[in-house]
Symmetry: C2
Subunit: 267 residues, 2 copies
């Protein structure tokens, strides 16, 4: 499981404030906590204020990579933001978050990902908006994979995100997401699948249990990455337990090793 | 989801001691806690010492039903135990735990279940021992359902248990259990499926996360009951979240109601 740690995101008030105040201690604390919790990438989103996004991203990238050896996932709206941040990245591995099936976005972001040899998140939405069905997702997945291939981006670099919508508003779509993950991983066994998890419980009580149980269902369906908060209680334990129970962890080696490393954190 | 609360079981040291000491306070405490946590049946197992099982069961049944309005699940090795306990049961509903596919057991228990109009747990094992495959489980399910039918026990009274074996010792069987639940519920839409959950994590650290994630997988596969500890942190939240995410809770009504009743208990 490739865990993209989501906490450093300017849509969170505490992060927006830390960016504004240039609060290095806060950002370095968030970086270290997520690293220790078992993240594989640290997402960096500085997009609270469009006019300051690039300057804020530049600052945040430097602070984050001073405090972790993990690669970054640059989470940005503008091509200029990616280009600016990529110049600062020291790790050989980096992820861009994100492209989608919209023509303008494909044209702007694909060449940057190709040239920088980045991993690339691809949201399964396009010029028609959010996907409504399994087939919508399959079609956009094919389109992104084909365009990536033309640009010289290998399918192994792509992390497709089926765009989870809230259970409370679109309950019929939850099953579509699970089915889409099964079908896309069956059709393209080398593509990664990821998702921004925290949308699922919007408007419902005890959202974190919905995050975790839905993550378990997605892992069982074939998802091999997620954008999540690894410091949330039982989140990483859920990742390792779901992989072991879904037959993706021979002899429970990863589960047992995670326990030894203190990543399961049972109460 | 039909929750059979498992804590009053003489294989637990504290329960064996309470039975021996005739500790009413302890048994009534366990009964009330499980009732408040959201159980549908209270399992009563007094089988720590075969020579005293029937006397202990008689005492425990009386104490438990003085402390709950829930029906009991009588969990007993001997036909005599069931007959003795059934005479004491006050609730119109009662469950017997269990019959299995062994010829001797079928002959001994089926008539008791039929005459008392009890719900009946049926373990999917037989004279050849524990099931090894999906087909083993399907065959034993058919056998138990047929025999029940001949005895006048409706399929709706049966709770088939696929016999979960530990992930650590028989990892290949975990997928078989999930597949068996799907196939049996597809073939017999009116039968209930339940399981003793706590075997799954035998020999592994942090067993309770394995219990919960496997329960979520089983609910997604079609299981509608489980024998579990409803007081375990996040256990009932997992039940309600898994049902909502698996499309078994229209408009999340049960999930929201469980929250209002305090059953989700978020940290």
């Amino acid at each position: 499981m490739i865990v993209i740690a989501e906490r450093i995101n300017a849509t969170r008030k505490s992060i927006a404030k830390a960016l504004k105040d240039r609060d290095e201690d806060f950002i370095s604390g968030e970086t270290k906590q997520q690293t220790e919790a078992g993240a594989d990438f640290i997402d960096v989103n500085a997009g609270s204020n469009p006019s300051e996004e690039i300057e804020n991203l530049r600052w945040a990238v430097q602070v984050v990579q001073q405090n972790t050896d993990l690669p970054l996932c640059l989470d940005c709206a503008s091509p200029e933001g990616f280009e600016t941040a990529l110049k600062l990245v020291e790790n050989d591995t980096v992820m861009l978050n994100s492209v989608n099936g919209e023509e303008e976005r494909l044209q702007a972001i694909m060449p940057i990902a190709a040239e920088s040899k980045s991993e690339l998140v691809g949201l399964l939405m396009d010029d028609d908006g959010l996907p409504q069905s399994v087939d919508d997702r399959l079609n956009i997945a094919e389109k992104i994979i084909e365009r990536a291939d033309k640009e010289g981006i290998a399918v192994e670099k792509l992390y497709l995100d089926p765009c989870i919508q809230p259970l409370s508003t679109t309950p019929q779509d939850v099953g579509n997401v699970i089915e889409a993950v099964k079908k896309i991983t069956a059709s393209f066994p080398n593509v990664h699948m990821t998702c921004g998890l925290s949308n699922i419980g919007f408007g419902l009580p005890y959202r974190s249990i919905l995050n975790r149980i839905f993550l378990a269902f997605l892992i069982h369906a074939g998802m091999d990455s997620a954008i999540l908060d690894p410091t949330e209680p039982d989140m990483m334990a859920t990742v390792f337990a779901a992989e072991a129970l879904a037959g993706k962890d021979d002899f429970c080696m990863n589960y047992i090793q995670a326990d030894r490393q203190g990543l399961l954190k049972p109460e």
